[in-house]
């Protein structure tokens, strides 16, 4: 299965995604802000990244920008998961090269399906 990195300042979100995706067979790591997220990207070498927008130290947009500018990380699909629903945020994320924009509240099985589709993995039975 895949290696997934979750970057979100909300610990509840990190625990839920971590537990759910680990149960689906993925190897999951998490970071509590953008700076830690970039460090962990280098160390963990994830296949896919889920990132929130509003975070301390470095915003999700800035994380996407830096990942896409780095030749070693530019091909990693980055999904933005946020409660911001305004169209201009969606457009900005797409312009920066985010693979998708998912708005909260999310359904964990749907998120798992999106991840599987992005990584071309077969859908798992619901955990």
């Amino acid at each position: 299965m895949a290696k997934i990195l979750i970057i979100d300042d909300d610990e509840t979100v990190r625990i839920v995604y971590r537990t759910y995706l680990a149960r689906a067979g993925h190897t999951v790591d998490s970071a509590k802000d953008g700076v830690e997220g970039l460090d962990k990207t280098a160390a963990f070498a994830p296949d896919l990244i889920l990132v929130d927008i509003n975070m301390p130290r470095l915003s999700g947009f800035e994380v996407v920008k830096q990942l896409k500018e780095d030749p070693s990380t530019k091909d990693i699909p980055v999904f933005i998961i946020t409660s911001l629903k305004q169209e201009h945020h969606v457009k900005r994320a797409a312009a920066m090269g985010a693979a998708g924009y998912i708005t909260k509240p999310t359904r964990a099985p749907e998120l798992a399906a999106i991840i599987n589709k992005a990584l071309k993995l077969p859908d798992q039975p619901r955990a």
Binding site: T12, V16, R107
Partner: protein, 362 residues
């Protein structure tokens, strides 16, 4: 006097004791502050651990209450409710249902309802905030009762916000709109947020038409302030109500003397891709309506460039400037009109057109 004091035989003894006492008091104060800091940090760590435990229980068991001890003290209630609130804000489906099951089993909602009737206003405000996150219909009655009794304005604002999140039909929103008039002051953002919450709550339940029913009901209701009606229209636009097009046109026709309502309708329709009101709005005597039309004219591919160009000579500065900016954004036809205006003898039109052309070049 001072010499008499310092000349006293035990003066320096007393002074020494006073200094020692002060030093002891300061040391005690520092020790207390350090102890209190450690106590607060320990409590926070304990709360974090409890919160983590609650989220993990929700994720690992279909009946998380079986894995956890029921909350006994305030700290445990806080940890449990914050964990559940975090889950409800970020997730829906099975995970959210499990969290709600835990909420019910541990009587967390009842605990905060009781707290909301307490004596200290800030505790009541916290309790109402927590109840608003839970979004439980069963709390509506107690929230309405609380609103009647509550005298502190900041708690009353919070209660209405909580009520907006649990709207389930047009009666609930009508009640909300009427209660708004009891508040000491309203800001457009607050009112719009309330109705946005109500629309999204209805949409989530597949009952968007209830908001349309409410809007039709208050169209001629004098109890609801005109500005509140305007904010309802704005909320409708922000929440992307699909069937509101007819409603916006009806409001536009019903309030020919209310520029705030007319501007909100023009803006909302234009954002839906309906430009039928634009020509009329561009000729409206009130500048706010003309301005709303101009600010959205660029969205229309075949914009009324002739009518916009006529507004370059408007008596209102904002209208002239926005007419020029609208023309600059409406393709070659608009830019040609701007160049003609810039070269004309009308100084007002020329200034606005030159500014827009400069902005475009920059």
């Amino acid at each position: 006097m001072l010499e008499h004091l310092t000349g006293a035989p035990l003066f320096y003894d007393y002074l020494g004791w006073a200094v020692l006492l002060l030093a002891a008091f300061n040391a005690a104060q520092i020790i207390y502050l350090l102890w209190n800091k450690a106590r607060v940090e320990r409590a926070e760590r304990r709360k974090d651990a409890l919160r983590r435990l609650t989220v993990t229980a929700v994720m690992t068991s279909p009946t998380p209450a079986d894995l956890l001890a029921p909350p006994a003290g305030e700290e445990e209630y806080e940890a449990c409710s914050e964990a559940i609130a975090g889950i409800l804000e970020n997730f829906e489906g099975e995970i959210a249902e499990r969290a709600l099951g835990l909420l019910e089993r541990f009587g967390v909602s009842g605990h905060y309802r009781a707290m909301a009737r307490g004596g200290r206003w800030y505790r009541r405000a916290n309790a109402v905030d927590m109840l608003s996150v839970f979004r439980l219909e069963e709390n509506r009655g107690s929230l309405l009762e609380l609103f009647k009794k509550e005298r502190v304005a900041s708690v009353r604002y919070r209660i209405l916000r909580a009520l907006s999140l649990i709207a389930r039909g047009h009666d609930d929103i009508t009640t909300l709109a009427c209660l708004l008039s009891e508040l000491p002051y309203l800001t457009p953002k607050y009112t719009e947020d309330l109705f946005y919450n109500a629309v999204t709550a209805l949409k989530a339940k597949g009952r968007e038409e209830e908001f349309g029913l409410f809007m039709r009901r208050i169209m001629r209701d004098d109890r609801v302030l005109t500005l509140v009606k305007r904010d309802c229209l704005t909320a409708c636009r922000a929440a992307a109500c699909e069937k509101a097009g007819e409603l916006f046109r009806d409001y536009y026709a019903a309030y020919p003397e209310e520029p705030e309502i007319l501007a909100a309708c023009v803006k909302a329709l234009a954002r839906k891709g309906d430009f039928s009101l634009l020509p009329d709005a561009l000729r409206h005597p009130h500048w706010l309506v003309r301005l709303a039309a101009l600010k959205n004219a660029h969205l229309c591919r075949e914009g009324p460039a002739g009518e916009i160009a006529a507004l370059l000579s408007d008596h209102n500065y904002h209208i002239r400037l926005n007419a020029a900016l609208a023309l600059a954004r409406s393709g070659e036809r608009g830019r040609a009109a701007l160049r003609a205006a810039a070269a004309s003898g009308d100084r007002f039109a020329s200034d606005s057109a030159s500014y827009a052309l400069e902005q475009e070049t920059a």
